[in-house]
Assembly symmetry: D4
Homo-oligomer: 253 residues x 8
C-alpha cells in the first residue's frame, strides 16, 4: 500500500483540507486490484523503487503467477519469498524470465541492481553454514532495493577469534543483521561490541531442544546486551524490511 | 563498556597497529571496577552522555546502592530499571537525592534534561492504560538521554478512529515504539500505516490466554506488516535502547 | 466507539457522499475524550442504552475514577470488570454511589433494570460452584443491558441427570452461555442437546494439569458437538458481549 | 442426532408426560445405524434440510463410503470435511457422483442449492490468499444449507484501506466469519467496526512463531474488541455451524 | 450421584421395562437438592457407606458449610478436599464438630472407621517427605471408606535399597498408589517389580524444570513398565477413588 | 521380567532366607538373553500365558526378527506393537507365519485364543471411527491374553443417546477402556455413569488445537467424574496392560 | 546411601561371593533410619567426609529438625538447601548451633573447613549479580566438602573484556561452573575458550520471555560449544555434586 | 579452535607479555580458513589428535565435501555427525574413502584407532534398542579420539535385574553416559548406584506424551540422584565431548 498517500488522504479528510471529490477520484485509481483470491497493492511504494513482495507459502503456483502478472504492470522488480522448488519449477515453465535463488527460496522478476544506489550498508552475519538460506533471503531483498550488503558467514561464538576478526568491518555498516539458530547467542555478543542497530533473526536450524527455532528466539529476546530487536523465526525478509525502515528515516532527515 | 575503545584495542592488537605497552596501560585504566558481587563498567559511553543503567530485579538494595555509588564517580545520569517500591524506599532512605518514578519502576540519579539535545524524536504509543508503566520506562530513559519523546496513550485497535487521529504526529517522528498487551495487534496496524522504524513491546497486561505477555509477543513476531521488530515482554528500556542505536547511526552518518 | 457513525463517516468520505465540512464538524464532537492516560469513548453506543465498560485490571484506582467521571457525563449505566476488592474499597470511598459485586469483581454505576426491555433470554450454566464469579460477570453485564438471564449452577457432566433436568428451560432461551473449568466438557454435551447458539467460557478453576484454564479452553475448542464458539479464559464479559451481538442482529432484522 | 426429538423424549419420560410404550417404539426407529466401526445418525436434522457431515480425517476411504451410503438413504445433501486428495480419488472411483472441492478439502454428495432459501447472509473474510481453503470449507457448508454467502478475500490489516472499502457490505450481513493466520489480528479490527456477531477462525497459515495456528488463536481469544468468539484452528466448518445456530434461533423467533 | 439407580431408570425407560409413573415418583425423591449455587447429590452411594466429597477449592466457606449441612441429612461421613487453613478456620468456628487434617488439606465430618470393613488393602508409597500431603489426601479418603491402608514414605529411587526393603509388603496389597514429584520415576520402578495395579500420582513438589508437576506427570505417562495409570497432579483423592472402583468390581464378582 | 522370581530372590537374599548357591544358580538360568542390541526377557510371565510384547517403533526389522526368534523359544504368543506397514512387509517376507493387523499396527505370532479362558470382560469404547487403531491395539492384546472383549465404537458425547443405549452392556464388564481424541470428554461422561474401573486413552485424532492428543490427555486428567485413570496418548497397549493388572489381583484374591 | 557398600553387597550376592549371613547382618546395621515421614540415609558417604544434604523445600521445619538430629549422630557436616528465611528462623530457635546463609538459602551444621583438603579447584562464574544465590549454594556445598572454590561474579557476555580478563584464572581450575539467567549465553562462550569440564546452571533470573529460567536452560542445552552439560534451573547444589563426581574419579585413578 | 593458543595470545597481549609482531604473525597462520559459506577451524586441537567434527544437518553435500577437503589438509581423523543417508550417498560418490555408519548417522574419514591410547574408559548404557543410534554417535566419536568404550544396551528400569547385573562393569569406568527416551528414568537410577560422573542423554524415542524427547529431558534434569548432568536431546556427540573434557583435566593433572 502507498502508505503516504492513504494516510494523507485520511488525514486531509479528517481535517477538512481536501474536498471529497478530489479524494474520491484519487481513491478510484489508487490502491489495489481485486483478483478475487487476492487484492494486489498495485501502487505500493511505486516511487521508492522498492521491490514488491509475494509471500508464496500456502499459495498455488497459479495464484503466484496471476499476482505477479498484475504487479509487473506497475513494477520492474518483484520478489517472491518462501517459494519451494516445486512452486518455482511450475512458475518458471510459464514465466521463463523469472529467476529462482534456490538457497534463499526466492523468486525474482527484474534485475539485481548492478551497484547500490544508496549510501547505506547492511552487514549480514550468520552463526553457521546452515543459517545461509535465511541470510540469503535478507540479502537478495536488500540488494534488489539497491542497498549494499556485506556478508560474514559461520561466525559462531564457539570461536570468538573469528568474530573479533571481522568486527572492524561490522562497525562501519549502518545496520547489522545477525542470523543464528541453535543457542542463538551470537546477536547478544555482537551487540555487546557494536553501537549500531542490531536486528536478530532466529532460525529453525538445530535439533532436539532447539524446538525449530524457539530456543534462539527466546535467547535473542533475553539478550544481555541492550537494544537488540528480534523478528520471527527464519524471517530474513522481515529483518531486511526493518533495515529499510531505518534507511528511509535516515534519508528523509 | 566503552565499545569503541575495546574493539579498537582488540583489532589494533590483532593487526599489529599498536604496541603492547600502550594497550596494556590503556587497559589498566579502562573498563570496570570489581565490587566482588558486580563488575561495574565505569566508562561505558562516557563521552556520549547516555545514562548508565542498573537492572534492579534480583539485586539487594545494598548492592544497588554500592553500584550506584561507584557509577556516580564518572556519570551524572544513572537509571535503575525494574525497581520495586520496597527497593526504592530502602534506597531513598540512604540516598535521598535519588528520584523514584513509581509508575515506570525507575530510579533516577541526576536531572532529566530540560530540553532535548538531539534532532531525533521518538513517539511512544500504548494500546491501553495498563500498558503505561512499560511506556514510562522507555520514555524516561530516552528523555534522560536527551531525546524528545511524544506520548500517545490508549490507542487500541478497537477504536481505529483514535489511531487515525494521531497518525500525522506519528509520521513526523524518527522511530515509533508501540506498547501493547492482550492481543498485541496495534504494532502491526501502526506499521501498516507508517514507513518509519516500528519497535514493538509486548506487555504482560491481560489475563487468561494472554499468558503474561506471550500472546502479544507472538502476535508481534507474526505481524502482517513487514519490518516490525520486537523486544522482550515488558522491556520498555530495551525498545528505548534500540531507538538510541538508530539515533547513533543517524548522527554518525 | 459509536461504530455506525464512524463507519458511515469513513464510507461517506470514501464514496463522496458527504462534504468534508459536515464530516469534520461531526468528528469534532464525536468519539473520545483524551484524559492523557486514557482516551474515553464518550459516545459509544449511546443510543442503545448498553452499559459502558471499564477494564480495571492494571489501572490505578485514580485512573478508574477519572474515566468513570468522564463517562457519567453521557451514560447512566457504567460497569467496571475485573475489579479487585482493594480497588473497589478505594473507589467506593471517593464515589459512594458505586456498587461492588464482590463475587463477580464488578463495579456498577447506575441501576440494574427492574425488568428486561428486550425479548431475548440468555441462559448461563456453570459446571461447578467455583465457576460462579465468571458467570456473575456475564450475568450482571447482560442484566444491565436489559437482557433477561436464567441461571443454572453446578451442572457437571459427572451427574448427567442434573443436566437433563434443566434441558427444557435451556431450549427456550435464545443463547446459552456455558461456564466450566477443570475438564471443560460441559459445553460440548450441552451443544449436543441444543440447537441454539452455545458460547463456551473456560475458567481458571481447577489445579494441577488444568493449567489455570488452558485445559477447559482446549477441550472447548475441540468440542465434538459442532458450532460451539469460545472466548478467553474467565472472560464472562466477552461471552455476554457476544450474546449482545446476536441480540443486535436479531432486533435489526 | 435429531436433538429436539431426543430431548423431548428424555424430558417427557422424566416428567411423566409420555408412556413408555410410545417412547420405546419411537426410539426403536430413531437415531442411529450401527455400522460396527461407526454409528450413523441417520435422522439428524432431517426436517431442517441441513447437510449431513462426515469428518474424513483418520477414516479409511472404505469407511467413508460405507457411512455415505447409509446416510444417502435419508439425506439428499452430504458433506465430507478434511478429505485429502488421495481419499477423494479413491472414493470418486467407487462413487462417481460425488464432487470434490480440492481447495476446501470437501466431498459433496447432492447439489449446491441454486439460490439461498433463507433471509440470512454470512460474510466470510480472509486475511490472506493462503487462508482460502478454510474459508472455502465454511462457504460450501453454508451454501449447501441454503445460506447466502459473501466472500471478501485478502483483507490484511497491513492495508487498512482494503478493509474500509468493504465495510458497508460487511455491515449488511447477519454474521461475519473472519479467517486469518499469522498474527490473527483481523477479527479484532473487524469487530471494532461492526456490531454484528463476529466468529473468528485461526488458520495454520504462517511459519516460525505462528506455531501452526496457535498465535492467531491466542490473538483472537485476547481480542481488544469485545464479543469476538473463536473456533478451533482451521475449523471453517465449525464457524459455519455456529452461524447456522444463530440463524436457527433467528428463524425460530 | 447414585449411578446404579439413574442408569437403571434410564435404561428401563428406554427399553420399556418400567412404567412412567414408577420412574417419575422415584425421580422425584432422588438425586439432588438445588442450593442455587450448588446441586447436591444427596443420595450418591448412600448404600455403600462411601464418604461424600466436597471439592473446596474456589468455594467460599459459607458455600462449603451450606453443602455440608445438606449432605449431613443423608450421610454420616463427609470429606472436604483441597481445603485451605483459612477456609478450615472459618468453618470450624461455625461447625466445631468438623476435623481438619492440615497436612492433607482435608475436612472431615464423622468418624474414621476403627478397623477396615473390607478385605482390600491399598499401599501408598511416597518418593519424598514433601509428597506427604498428597498421600495423606488419598489415605484419609480410603480409610473413611473402610479400606486398610499401608504407608511407605520417602522411598526415592536414589536409594534403591529402601525400595527393595519394602517390596514384600507392597506385593501383598491389592493396589499400590505411588506418589512422586521431581523426576517422577518411582512408579515405573515399582511397576517393574509388582504385578498388581499401580496408580501413579504426580505432585507439584520440586522447582525449576519440574514445572509444578508437569515433569513427573509426563514421566509417569511414558513409564517403561507397562500398565501404569496416572491421575492429575496432586490428585491424591482421584487415585483413591480409582482404587475404590477396583475394590467395587472385586467385591461384586 | 518374571517379577515374582526376581523379587523373591532379592528379598530372600536381603533377609537371609536363601543360600547364595541356590540364588546364584537360579540367577544363571533366569532372566534374559543378551542379543548385544537388546536384552530379551525370555522367561517373563512364562507361567501366566500372557503374550510377550516387542515395541517396534525405532527398531530395524532385522532387530525385531532377532528378538522374535529368541522369544519364540519360550513363548507361544508374541505381539509386536506400533509396527509400521513397511516394517511388517519386511518381516513377513522372512517370517511368513506372522500375522499383521494393519489397523492396530500389530504383529502377531501364535493364535488368538478361540474363547476366553478367564472370567473377566473388558469393554472398549471409542468416541469416533478414527480412534479405532488404538482400540484395536488394546483389543488384540487382551484377546491374546485370553480376556473377553466387548467393543462399542463411535459413541461420541455429541449424541448422548448412543451412549445411554449401550450403558447396560458396559455395566456388566469388569473394566471399561475409553478411547477418545479431539475433546476427550467421553471418559468423564462414562465414568459418571459407571462404578467400575475406567481407563482413559487419549488419541492423536483431531487437528489444530487438539495438539496431537494433548487436549484429550489434559481433559481426561481433569475429569470431573472421580477415579478416572489415564495412560499415554495412543497407548492402547498400556490400557490393556493396566486392565490385566486388575485381572491379576482379582484372580489372586 | 553408601553406594559402594550396597552395590558390593548386591553383586557379591548375585555372584555367590558372600554368604547370606554376612550380607544380612551388614544390611541390618546399614543404610537408613525410618522416621516414618522420612527414611534417613545415615551412612551415606560417611568415609568420604562429604556433607549430608537435606532438601528443605516442602518440608515442615519440624521434619527438617528431626532429620537433622538423626543425621548428626553419624555426620559432622550437614547442609540444608532451598531453605526459606521463615524455615530457618524456626529451626534456629530450636537449634541455635545451625548457621543460615541467607543469600544461598542454605542451612549449615558443622564448620566450613579452614582450608581445602583436596587438590581440586572449582571456579564458579556468574553472569549477573542476581545469579549470586545459586552460585552461593554451589560454593558452600563445595567448600563444605573440602574443595577450593574461585568465584568470578558479573561476567556477562555484553562486556567480553571482563571475561577475557579472568580467562587465565579459569583455565587453571579443574571444573568451571557457569551460572546464568536471562539469555544464558555465558556457558557457551566460556566453553568455547576452555578445555576443562563446563557445567552450566540456568537461573530463574530475568522477566518476560525468560520464563523463570526456561530460556537460559534451552540456550545452554543448545550450546554451540561442544561438551557443555546442564543441570536443573537454580540447581547450584546439583552442579556442585556433579563436580564432586569428577573429583572422585580423579582421586580414584 | 585451538583454545590454548588463542587464550594465550589474548592474555599475553592484555598483560603485555608478548610483542605485537609475534602475536600478529602467529595469528596470520592460525585459526581458520574462509570458504565463504564456512570458516573452517583448521588447527583446532591439532596436537591432541582429537577428531575434527562437521555438523551435517542443514548443510548441502557440496558444502560438507568442501569443508572436509579443507580439514584433511591438517587432520587425519574427521567426523561428520547427523548425516542423512542421502547426504552420505552423494558424498561417498565423490569421496569413496569416507565410511558411513548408518546407525549413528556418522561420516568418518580416517581410521578407527585399533586400541585405545588413553587410560580412560567410558561406559555407554542405553535404555532401549531404539536408543542405539544416539549411543552409536557417542561411541564412534570417543573411539576415534582413542578412548575405550564399553557398551551396555537395553537396560530399562522395567527390568532392574539387568541393571544390577552390569553394575560392577559400570563402576570400573571413568564416566558413564546413559542414553534413554520415553520416561528417561534410567540415568537417575544409575546415578543412585554409582559415584562416577553420569552424563544423561535424552532421546526422541517414544510417542505421544514423550514429545520427541522433552519428557526424558525433563526427567533427567529433575533427577532425584544428585550430580546428574544433561545434554541436548539426541546429542550423543555432546555427551562424548563432555566426557573428553573430563579426560583432558584428568590427564593434565
Amino acid at each position: 500500500m502507498d502508505k503516504d498517500k492513504v494516510v494523507k488522504l485520511l488525514t486531509q479528510l479528517s481535517q477538512g483540507d481536501a474536498s471529497v471529490e478530489t479524494v474520491y477520484s484519487e481513491m478510484q485509481h489508487l490502491p489495489f486490484k481485486d483478483l478475487d483470491f487476492a487484492r494486489v497493492d498495485t501502487h505500493r511504494a511505486l516511487r521508492q523503487g522498492f521491490p514488491e513482495v509475494i509471500f508464496c507459502l500456502g499459495k498455488t503456483p497459479e495464484q503466484i503467477i496471476a499476482i505477479a502478472l498484475e504487479l509487473t504492470k506497475n513494477h520492474n522488480i518483484i520478489i517472491g519469498t518462501k517459494c519451494s522448488a516445486e512452486q518455482a519449477k511450475f512458475i518458471k515453465e510459464k514465466m521463463p524470465e523469472v529467476s529462482y535463488f534456490a538457497q534463499g527460496n526466492i523468486l525474482f522478476w527484474g534485475e539485481l541492481a548492478g551497484k547500490p544506489k544508496l549510501d547505506f550498508t547492511v552487514s549480514i552475519v550468520t552463526a553457521g553454514t546452515a543459517d545461509l538460506p535465511v541470510a540469503e533471503e535478507a540479502s537478495i531483498y536488500l540488494q534488489a532495493a539497491g542497498v549494499a550488503v556485506k556478508r560474514q558467514n559461520d561466525i559462531g561464538i564457539a570461536g570468538l577469534h573469528r568474530l573479533i576478526n571481522v568486527l572492524p568491518q561490522l562497525k562501519d555498516c549502518s545496520v547489522c543483521i545477525v542470523v543464528a539458530g541453535m543457542d542463538g547467542a551470537l546477536p547478544g555478543v555482537v551487540a555487546g561490541l557494536l553501537a549500531i542497530p542490531v536486528i536478530a533473526v532466529p532460525t529453525s536450524v538445530g535439533y532436539g531442544a532447539s524446538f525449530s527455532g524457539v530456543t534462539p528466539l527466546l535467547t535473542m529476546l533475553n539478550s544481555c546486551a541492550s537494544g537488540v530487536t528480534v523478528v520471527n523465526i527464519d524471517n530474513g525478509f522481515g529483518a531486511a524490511a526493518a533495515a529499510l525502515r531505518i534507511m528511509q528515516i535516515m534519508h528523509k532527515k
